[in-house]
C-alpha cells in the first residue's frame, strides 16, 4: 500500500504536474499555449469517453452501470447542499460564493479521473468502462443544485442569459465530447478500438503528462495570486474530498460495486470541477467570487487528490473491500 502510494508519486504524469507547479512557483515564463491546452483537454475527454464506451460495449451494459450511475447522480446533486451548509457556517463566504463553491465540489474533475484510471492500471486493478459515463453524468447535477441553492431565478440578469446558461450547463464542449465519444466507442466497439488504439492509448499517457504540466503551472500561479484564502477554506478543500471519498466508498460497497469501480467513485466524489462548473457559475452567479472557487478547486483540491488522494482512496477501498 505504501509502495503503491509512492509509485503514484513517481508516475511520470504526477511528476510533470510537480514540475509545472515548481516552474509556476519560481515564476518561470513557461506556458503551454492556451489553444493547445484547450485541445489537450478535449482530447483527454475524447479518449476517456471512447475507451469507456468501447469497454462498456465489450462487457455489455451491466447492472453495475445502473448502480454506479445512480450513485454518481445522487452524490453530485446532494453534495452541494451539504457543502453549502458547511461553507456558510464558516462565515467567511457570501451566499453566492458559497453556492458556487459548493457546485464545484459536487461536480467532477476529468483529469483527476484520468489520473485515477492510470493509477488503477498501474496497480492492475480492474474497473468498468462505464465509469466514463458516470463521470459524464456527475458533471451537471451539482450545477443545478447550486442554482437551486442560490435561487438563481431571483437574479434579474440571469433571465436574459437563460439560453446561454442552459446550453453551458447541458451542452458545454467537455460534456458533449465526453458523452459523444462514449457513444461512438460503444457503437464501434472492438473494431473502432482497433483503429484508434494508438491514438487513445500510448498517446494518451503522453498528452496527460503535457496537460498536467500545464495544470501545475496554472494551479501554482493561481495559488500565488490568492493570498486572501482563509485557513478554514483551505481545510475544507482538503477535508471535504476525504469525507466525500469515504461516503462514496461506503455507498459503493453497499451497492456491491467492485474495488476498482468504488475507488473511481471515491475519486470522482472527492474531485472538484475546474472547467464545467466555473463556466456555468460565471454566467449564472456572476457575483460569486471566482478567485475563491477556482483557487480552492484548482489550487488546493486538485493537487491534493492527484498527489495523495488517489492512492489513499484506493488503500481505503482495499480495507473496505478486504482486497
Amino acid at each position: 500500500m505504501a509502495g503503491a502510494g509512492a509509485a503514484n508519486l513517481l508516475a511520470p504524469a504526477v511528476l510533470f504536474f510537480a514540475l509545472g507547479a515548481l516552474a509556476g512557483w519560481l515564476k518561470s515564463d513557461l506556458t503551454i499555449p492556451d489553444q493547445v491546452a484547450k485541445t489537450l483537454a478535449l482530447y483527454l475527454m475524447l479518449c476517456i469517453g471512447f475507451k469507456g464506451g468501447a469497454e462498456a460495449a465489450a462487457s455489455g451494459l451491466s447492472q453495475d452501470l445502473i448502480a454506479a450511475g445512480g450513485l454518481g447522480l445522487g452524490l453530485s446533486f446532494a453534495t452541494p447542499f451539504a457543502a453549502y451548509i458547511v461553507l456558510k457556517a464558516f462565515g467567511v463566504l457570501d451566499r453566492l460564493t458559497a453556492a458556487a463553491t459548493a457546485a464545484h465540489y459536487g461536480s467532477v474533475s476529468v483529469v483527476t479521473f484520468a489520473a485515477g484510471t492510470e493509477y488503477l492500471r498501474a496497480v492492475e486493478v480492474e474497473f468498468g468502462g462505464y465509469m466514463a459515463a458516470v463521470l459524464a453524468l456527475m458533471e451537471t447535477p451539482a450545477i443545478l443544485a447550486a442554482l437551486i441553492i442560490a435561487g438563481a431565478r431571483s437574479q434579474k440578469a440571469e433571465t436574459r442569459l437563460r439560453p446561454t446558461l442552459w446550453r453551458e450547463v447541458f451542452l458545454n464542449g467537455a460534456a458533449v465530447v465526453l458523452i459523444g465519444s462514449f457513444v461512438i466507442g460503444a457503437i464501434t466497439g472492438e473494431r473502432g478500438m482497433a483503429r484508434l488504439d494508438v491514438f487513445v492509448g500510448p498517446l494518451f499517457q503522453g498528452a496527460l503528462c503535457l496537460f498536467l504540466l500545464d495544470m501545475g503551472l496554472v494551479a501554482s500561479r493561481r495559488l500565488a495570486e490568492a493570498p486572501r484564502l482563509d485557513w478554514r477554506l483551505i481545510a475544507f478543500a482538503i477535508a471535504w474530498p476525504l469525507l466525500s471519498a469515504a461516503a462514496a466508498l461506503g455507498a459503493s460497497a453497499a451497492l456491491g460495486l467492485s474495488l476498482g469501480d468504488a475507488t473511481l467513485m471515491a475519486v470522482l466524489a472527492a474531485s472538484a470541477s475546474y472547467i464545467a462548473a466555473p463556466a456555468a457559475m460565471r454566467i449564472a452567479l456572476p457575483k460569486a467570487d471566482a478567485g475563491i472557487y477556482l483557487s480552492l478547486s484548482l489550487g488546493v483540491t486538485f493537487p491534493f487528490n492527484l498527489l495523495i488522494g488517489i492512492p489513499l482512496y484506493h488503500a481505503a477501498g482495499r480495507l473496505v473491500f478486504g482486497g
Binding site: 499555449p33 493547445v36 484547450k38 483537454a41 434579474k156 436574459r160 500545464d214 463556466a279 460565471r282 456572476p286
Partner: protein, 101 residues
C-alpha cells in the same frame, strides 16, 4: 477625403457574453462589429490570464456606428455591467463610406 464622424465602442466582456452582445449591437443599429481575444487583464473583479484550463477569457468587441446606436448600446451595457464583469468606452472616429455604419 470625404470622412464622416462616427462613434467607436470598445467593449470588454467575458467570452460567454459575446453572442448576446452581438445581438444587442445589431438591435441598437450597428451594421458591423469585430471581436478580439484578450490574453490577460485586470479590473475590479481581479486579474485573470488566458490559460486554456480554467479561464473563459475576456473579449474585446469593437463596433463603429452612429451616435444614436452607441447611446442605445451604452444604455444596455450600463444595465448589463450591474451584474457582469466588463467595461466599455466610446470615442470619436472618422470613417469612409458613412452609409455603411
Amino acid at each position: 477625403m470625404d470622412l464622416t464622424a462616427r462613434v467607436k465602442l470598445e467593449i470588454f466582456v467575458e467570452a460567454h457574453a459575446v453572442g448576446e452582445i452581438e445581438r444587442m449591437l445589431e438591435d441598437a443599429g450597428f451594421k458591423g462589429l469585430s471581436v478580439f481575444a484578450s490574453l490577460e487583464g485586470a479590473g475590479s473583479h481581479g486579474a485573470w490570464r488566458q490559460t486554456g484550463v480554467d479561464e473563459a477569457g475576456m473579449r474585446l468587441i469593437i463596433a463603429i456606428g452612429s451616435e444614436v446606436s452607441a447611446e442605445r448600446a451604452l444604455a444596455w451595457l450600463s444595465d448589463y455591467f450591474q451584474s457582469y464583469p466588463g467595461v466599455a468606452a466610446a470615442s470619436d472616429v472618422r470613417v469612409l463610406r458613412a452609409d455603411r455604419f
